[in-house]
Each structure stands twice: as C-alpha cells, then as structure tokens.
C-alpha cells in the first residue's frame, strides 16, 4: 500500500507495522493468566479434584465477610452454606457451564454489617469450578433476572430491517439502550485484522468513531482469541485497582486460567488505552461467525459503569442474531450474484464449446468476458499468443506478468487485489491493473486467462497513530504504554482494486472448467491428427522404400550393361549411337543415385542414433578431405574456425556436414576463388554450426522449400542434384532434437546452419 500524507495531520509508512516492539510485546502478554480480578465482585475457584477452594480473591472479607485465608481449603458448603453450594453444583451439571459463565441466581451476603446483593455466576475451566459474584447496585438488584423478554420485540425489528446498514444501526442502538452506555460501535475486522467502525449509536458525551479505522495492534492476537472464547467483557471502571487472587499457603499454585471469567482483570496497557481514549467503562460483545471472530460490538461510557450480567447476556444474544442475520443476508446476496453470473456464464460456455482453440473460444464470447467477473480488462495467453480485451497492461508487460505467474504455485485460480504488492513490476501499471484474477488453463503450455481491475484509490481515516510507547519505570522494568492520540489522520491507499467477490472467483473457476475442456479437446484432436499423420507417413515411407529398393536392381542392370556395351562393343556403334549410349548411362546413373539417396533418407528416419561425443574439429577435416572438387584445379579456400565437441551420432553428423560442404562446393563452381567458411556458436542450450559459401545463393523467398524432399531451386543444366541432400540434413538434425535453416544474398552468398542441443534429446525412429 502506498500511503500519502493528507490534510497535514500525520504521515507514516507503516502505521500497522507488525514488527514494532510494542505490538509484539503486547501480543505476548498472557492476559488470560492475569492473577487478579476487577474489584466489583469476588471469585472462588474450587479444585474439582479435592472439592476445596484452591484460589480466591483477596477481597472476600470486604465482599462476603469471610477472610480469604479462612476460605482457602474449605469446601463450597462451608463457604456458601449447604443450600447454595447445592444450587451451584446443580447448575454445574448444565453443559453450558463449560462454555462460559452461567447466572445461578441473585445471592445476598453480609459484610461489615452491610448487606450486599450479588449476581452469582459459575463456570468450569481447567479443572476448576469457578464461582464469581458480581456486585449489583440497588436498581439493578430490583430488576428481574431474566431480561430476555426485552429482546422479543427487537427480533421482529431485526428481521424487518431492509439493508445491512439499517440492521447494524438498529443493533448498535439497542445495545446502547440496554447497556445505557454513551456510545455503542459495531466494529468489523478486515483481512489484516485492522478494524473498521461500520455502525454507531451515541449520545453527545463521547465523539463519533463511525467509519474510522483502528490498527490491528489495538486488539492484539491473544485478546482476539479471548474475545472468541468469552463473548462478553465488561470493564466497569478503567481506574480500578486489581484484586489479587490468593492460593493456599505453601501449595504449588499455578496461575488460574481466567479465559472464561467475567471479572478477569485486563492488561494495564488496556486500561491506559481506555483512559487515553477518555472512557471510564467499556463493554464488548464478540461477533462470531462459523466459530471465528469477525467483529465486536464495543460500548464506551465516559464514567465508570456496570451492566448487570442478565442485560449483558441479552446484548450477547442480540450480537448472535446480528451475526446470523448478516450471514443469511450475505449468503442470499452471494447466491443472487452467483445466479446472475451463471446466467451470463451458461451461454458463454455454449458459445465457446464450438471452438478448439482457447483464443478462438474466448473470442466467441468476448462481449461477456469482462462482465462475467466484473473486470475492466482481460487477456488470453495461449502458445505464446497474447490477445487483449478492454483495458489491460501492454503486451510486453503481460508477457512479463505471465512469466511471473508461471513461477507461482499450483493454484488454478489466483485472485489478487493488490498486484504490485506481490509483483512489484506491476507498479508501472497500477491504474489499469491493480486487481488480477488469473486462471491457469494449462501449466504445461503456459496458457492463462487473466482479468484485470483498475485501481480504486481509497481514503482511510485512522483513529490516531497506532504506536505504543515503552517507558522504563522506577524499578527499571520496561513498561508498555498504549497510544495516547486518537486524533484522526487520513491515509490514501493506492494500488488496490475492488476486492474479487467469492461469487466472481467461483464463476471464474467454472469458466476455467469450460476453457480447460476446449484445450483438452484441442489436444486430443492434435494427438489424433499426429497419429494419423504418423501412420500415413509410415505407409508412404514403406512404399517409397519398397519402390526404391525394387528399382535399384533394374537401374543397376541398365547401368552395368550399358557400360559393358560401351566398353566391349563400343566400336560397333557410330558416333550418334555412342552419344545415345552416353545418355543411357548418365540417365541410369542419375536414377540409381536417386534411388540410393531415397533409401538413405528413409534409413535415416529409422536408424537408432548412436550418440557419442564428436569432436567437430576432427570430423570436419575428414569431411573436407572426402569432398570432391570438380575439376580438381578449382581454387577453393577453406576458412574453418575452432569447432566445439558435440553430442551426436557421428556417422549421421558426417552426412550432414558432407551434404552441406558438397553443396557449398557445388554452388560456387563458377567462382574464380571459392571461399567456404565454417564456424560455430554456442547458446545456453545449443551448438549452432554455420557453413557459408560465396556462391550463387538462392532467392530467400524459397528458403522454406530448400529443405523439402526433391526440392531444387536450380535448373538441371546449372547444378546437378537429386534434391534429397538438404532434406536429409534437416531430418538428421531433427532426429538429434535440433533444427536446420538457411539464409542467402542472391548471387553473393549462402549460409546453411544447423543446431544441436548441448544435451541431446534424440527423437525416436519414425518406425519405433
């Protein structure tokens, strides 16, 4: 996120830095083992194994007129009297007891001559039966214990609320009314656990926090965990003095786990936070969905204030109703959106189904392509092709992005709202593509469908700076202080798009299924074609082999007998007869060579490669030695650069070089000085060998024909040849996993090149 200073309030690059000393320290405070309680009540912890009080609050004497020293080690009967002890044990049979504090009843005790009414609460945790008494004021003591009837009317209103906002507002208002606090906030956690006030109800005593954002460090992790376990938390007076819990003298007393306690003393840092915020009392109700904390209803009062347990429970119920209602509404909304998207998707898929290529399939439904996920631009990448729709980064930028995506994990669908955060190069195009929804169609072939969303610049108003301070007190201990300022400051968040909704991501996933189908169908078709082609090729090869083989004998006979005729009976013929015989001989010779070449070509497709290390420096001179220079008086200048050692079949490589050098010699025949150069290059993966001559060259327009079977670019009278040599070169090189190509300046030079992989991957013989 890019943060900018606005309004001159304050600026910070990392207002939510998780690494700040205070934050992590705060997160490690074991707040559930506080060892003390708030002073508006008492606590007894009965060890369930012994049935005796193991720990109790130090204020027992003032609260119930029994000194803590006396109570420790006693049974519940001895402390509360048999009747109340029985009621507690009876209540403890309720499974609810293990989930959180349960109201047993109102209980009256006498201390220092005064009568005090308590709400007697009990729960079970960590092998202890924990009994808490919360002081009730005179008014509260007069209220009926069960206040749930108050909720009935409210539930009707909740259901009738039309929008989410109305619902939230209603709940905030009701919680404030029931609790009597100055301000009630509905606070929602975002993905990074920073909070946002989404609804508020208040009087004029405390300022409005509506729409403010609070840093994640305000509610550290273990505090969130406690909110999840214990859904109601009251701090009746931020200025309270904690009351210690005492254990049996001499006994190994472990700190009591107060996770579910209602009186648990909170962290001093939090009390300071409250004071800094100007609140004397706070009451929080956890908002839970699917077992997870998603928000809080947070009430504040400037003065200290208690809320009787029964009313707190009512507020808790209201919070649960809110959570459920929101879940139902969001689900309904998601469903409606899904159905809307499905209505677009179905005809899209049908339109795509008629195509065999991804790009064509997508093109067929281009009108709906952006609508289907609410994107501003889309891109299809298939076999190195990039097709763009709508507003997207440039093709070059997309290629770089695709390269990055190819290196990411195996997720088929990636939904990213701030691309530049994970892929910094994307900063160059945040305005058009801050959001990315990427579908991997084929990992193997690097095919993708990408959707982009433009940047939505958002102004976030933070409630104060989040930093906490560390001070060193008189004893030298480090002490944390919460932030003091709750002044607002604004932050401009850049580089983010609107979030991808679950329904949109799901639709994209369905779209992917259709798209993958196309790709698979294409692949299947390709495989089928390849198979057919292979079979046809094989038949053709067989045919040409048989024909060539059978033709070889008659050509040999013609040639041999013509030769015998010329040598033995030549004197019987006149000049014309001898001329005719010459044509017979050269015709038969050509035909015989043609047949031999075809057979050789066919054989090259079938032999198994014998890959060894071949020193081209040694092989090439041998080839040069065997190349016939005709007439031998020709002036041929060989320029041979140092050549590498390659991995190849030596015999076949010999043929390649022989063909190329013979060609070079042949097509330079009419040059006064023939110059033939051979040199090599090395890339990361290949050796490339070049042979250049200063001969007649060829028209580059026909260079693709050069390597075809029986292709000749010159008249017979100019240059003899069967048109198989270069086809053989390409076939041999291809069998090694390399390639062959040519370039020329017509009338000046020709360069023939072939590549061999440094690590050979020989292809199978054609007739494997």
């Amino acid at each position: 996120m890019v943060r900018e200073k606005t309004g001159g309030i304050r600026v910070s690059d990392t207002p939510m830095a998780d690494t700040s000393v205070d934050y992590s320290a705060c997160e490690h405070e074991p707040i559930h083992l506080a060892g003390s309680i708030q002073p508006h009540g008492f606590l007894l912890a009965v060890d369930e194994a012994t049935g005796r009080v193991a720990q109790a609050s130090e204020n027992l004497g003032a609260m119930i007129g029994r000194e803590v020293g006396a109570v420790l080690g006693q049974t519940l009967d001895e402390v509360l009297g048999a009747e109340w002890a029985c009621r507690v044990r009876c209540a403890a049979k309720d499974p609810q007891f293990a989930l959180g504090a349960v109201l047993i009843d109102r209980w009256t005790a006498r201390a220092a001559g005064e009568q005090q009414v308590f709400a007697l609460l009990g729960h079970r945790f960590g092998g202890h039966l924990i009994v808490e008494g919360e002081c009730l004021g005179e008014e509260d003591a007069a209220l009926p214990v069960d206040v749930n009837h108050q909720l009935q009317a409210l539930l009707g209103q909740v259901e009738a609320a039309r929008g989410v906002e109305e619902l939230l507002g209603l709940v905030a208002k009701e919680v404030r009314r029931i609790s009597g606090f100055d301000r009630a906030l509905v606070y929602r956690f975002d993905g990074d656990w920073h909070g946002r006030v989404i609804a508020e109800d208040r009087n004029d005593v405390l300022p409005s926090y509506l729409h403010l954002h609070f840093p994640a460090s305000d509610v550290p992790k273990q505090a969130r965990e406690l909110y999840r376990l214990n859904r109601l938390r009251l701090i009746a007076n931020a200025d309270y003095e904690p009351v210690r819990l005492c254990g049996l003298p001499g006994a190994q007393t472990r700190p009591l786990d107060l996770s579910l306690s209602t009186l648990r003393s909170v962290s001093p840092v939090h009390r300071e936070y409250m004071r800094n915020m100007g609140t004397g009392a706070s009451f929080s109700i956890s908002l839970i969905r699917g077992g997870e904390l998603w928000g809080l209803i947070s009430c504040h009062h400037r003065e200290p204030r208690t809320v009787p347990f029964g009313l707190r429970v009512s507020c808790g119920l209201l919070a649960q109703v809110l959570s459920l209602q929101l879940a139902v509404r969001e689900q309904a909304e998601g469903l409606a959106q899904r159905m809307r998207l499905q209505a677009i998707l179905t005809p899209m898929v049908a339109a795509m189904a008629r195509h065999e290529r991804l790009v064509e399939g997508v093109e067929a439904c281009r009108d709906d392509l952006l609508r289907i996920v609410g994107a501003d631009g889309a891109v299809v990448i298939e076999d190195g092709r990039v097709v763009r729709y709508g507003t997207t980064p440039t093709e070059e930028q997309i290629r770089a992005l695709a390269g990055w995506l190819n290196r990411q994990g195996d997720d088929d669908v990636l939904a990213i709202e701030s691309l530049s955060q994970v892929f910094p190069e994307a900063q160059a195009y945040t305005p058009v593509a801050s959001g990315l929804l990427a579908l991997s169609v084929s990992r193997l072939r690097h095919s993708w469908v990408l959707w982009f969303r433009r940047e939505v610049v958002e102004t976030v108003t933070w409630s104060g700076a989040p930093e906490k301070a560390v001070s060193v007190d008189a004893e030298g201990a480090r002490r944390l202080h919460p932030r003091k300022s709750f002044d607002q400051w604004k932050e401009i968040v850049r580089g983010r798009s609107l979030p991808w909704q679950q329904a949109e991501v799901d639709t994209a996933r369905e779209f992917r299924v259709a798209v993958v189908d196309i790709v698979l169908r294409g692949a299947e078709k390709l495989a089928q074609l390849t198979e057919e082609l292979t079979r046809t090729n094989r038949e053709l090869e067989n045919f040409s082999y048989t024909v060539s083989h059978d033709l070889r004998a008659p050509f040999r006979h013609i040639r041999s007998y013509a030769e015998l005729l010329k040598v033995d009976k030549g004197e019987l013929l006149d000049d014309e007869g001898r001329e005719f015989l010459g044509y017979v001989l050269s015709g038969a010779q050509y035909a015989g060579r043609l047949v031999d070449n075809i057979l050789g070509f066919s054989r090259m497709g079938r032999v198994t490669l014998m890959i060894t290390t071949v020193a081209l420096d040694e092989l090439l001179p041998e080839v040069v030695r065997q190349v016939k220079i005709d007439p031998p008086s020709r002036n041929v200048e060989w320029v041979i650069s140092p050549l590498p050692r390659v991995q190849a079949d030596q015999t076949l490589l010999f043929r390649v070089l022989q063909n190329l050098l013979e060609n070079a010699v042949k097509f330079t025949r009419d040059r006064e000085v023939t110059r033939i150069e051979v040199w090599a290059e090395e890339t990361a993966t290949e050796h490339v060998v070049h042979v250049r001559d200063n001969g007649v060259g060829f028209d580059e327009r026909y260079k693709d024909k050069l390597f075809g079977m029986f292709q000749r670019l010159h008249a017979w009278e100019e240059f003899e040849g069967t048109g198989i040599g270069l086809a053989s070169v390409r076939r041999i090189v291809a069998r090694h996993g390399g390639n062959a190509w040519a370039a020329s300046k017509l009338g000046e030079s020709a360069t023939f090149s072939f590549s061999l992989p440094i690590t050979p991957s020989p292809t199978n013989p054609i007739y494997a």
């Binding site: 004998a553 040999r556 041999s560 015989g592 047949v595 057979l599 054989r603 079938r606 032999v607 198994t608």
Partner: protein, 149 residues
C-alpha cells in the same frame, strides 16, 4: 586344385553380371552357382544333385540376401550351426543396406558384407577385392583350366 567359389544368386541378370565381374578378376577358381538357398545347402552338404561331388568346402560363399526357399540369412545360420562348415568364409553380396540386415548378418558371423554398387566399375572393384582376399592365394597353378558354367 583350387577350391571353388560358391555364388548363390537367383536374379539371372545379377548372376550374369557377377560372373562377368568374376571372370574379369582373372581368378583361377572354379565358380559354382546355386540359384536358391536350398540348392546351395545341398551343394555344401553334398546332397541331392551334389551328392556325388568331390569332398571339400568352397573357398568362399558369395551369398545374396533375398533368395527363394531358404534366404541368405537362414542359409548363413545353417552354415554357422554345421560343425564342418562353421569356418567357411561367407560374404553377403546384396542390394540391401538395411541396418537390420547388416546387423543380423554380422550377428550370425558373416565375414564381409558388400552392397552391390550401382556402377559396374565399382562392382568390378568390389568383386576383385573379395576374390583377392577370400578366394585364393591368387596365382592359379600352371596349366589349370578355368571352368565356366
């Protein structure tokens, strides 16, 4: 007496050309012709028409690959499995340059493998080389007569 050369060839033109080529090498050896693998086998093992021939193996067998009845490779296999013939020099004289044919022949212990060249001049040269190498200690004894089929 020089040992004869056994030429196994079914194609009449190839047979004729081979005989002409052998004639031009001025080898003194008799050339015995068999037109298929079976006939050659009969000759080598002195059966059938050859039951009465004098004892002794030929100097070399020039063997075509594609033959009626018993083909060249099969015949080679028979020869190599016959104790009396196992050291007999056999040269494949054939039109085939196929890897499998070459490989099979060598696997069965052929002594040479010659692909009939298209050029008669080249063919002559090949036959001459073969004869010099396999057939004879070159010079026929004085007064010997060359037999022609």
């Amino acid at each position: 007496m020089l040992k004869p050369i056994l030429l196994v060839e079914d194609n009449p033109r190839d047979l004729d050309l081979s005989l002409r080529a052998l004639a031009r090498t001025r080898l003194a050896n008799e050339v015995v012709v068999a037109r298929d693998g079976e006939e050659a086998w009969n000759y080598l093992t002195r059966r059938g028409n050859f039951a009465d021939r004098p004892q002794g193996n030929p100097a070399v067998v020039l063997l075509d690959l594609k033959l009626p009845k018993i083909d060249g490779v099969e015949l080679l296999n028979l020869i190599r499995n016959e104790p009396e013939l196992e050291n007999l020099p056999v040269v494949m004289l054939t039109a085939s340059r196929e890897q499998t044919d070459v490989a099979r022949s060598y696997a069965l212990g052929v002594n040479a493998y010659v692909v009939k060249p298209i050029e008669f001049v080249d063919f002559l040269e090949a036959i001459r080389d073969l004869g010099v190498f396999w057939a004879v200690i070159n010079e026929p004894p004085p007064g010997s007569i060359r037999l022609r089929p």
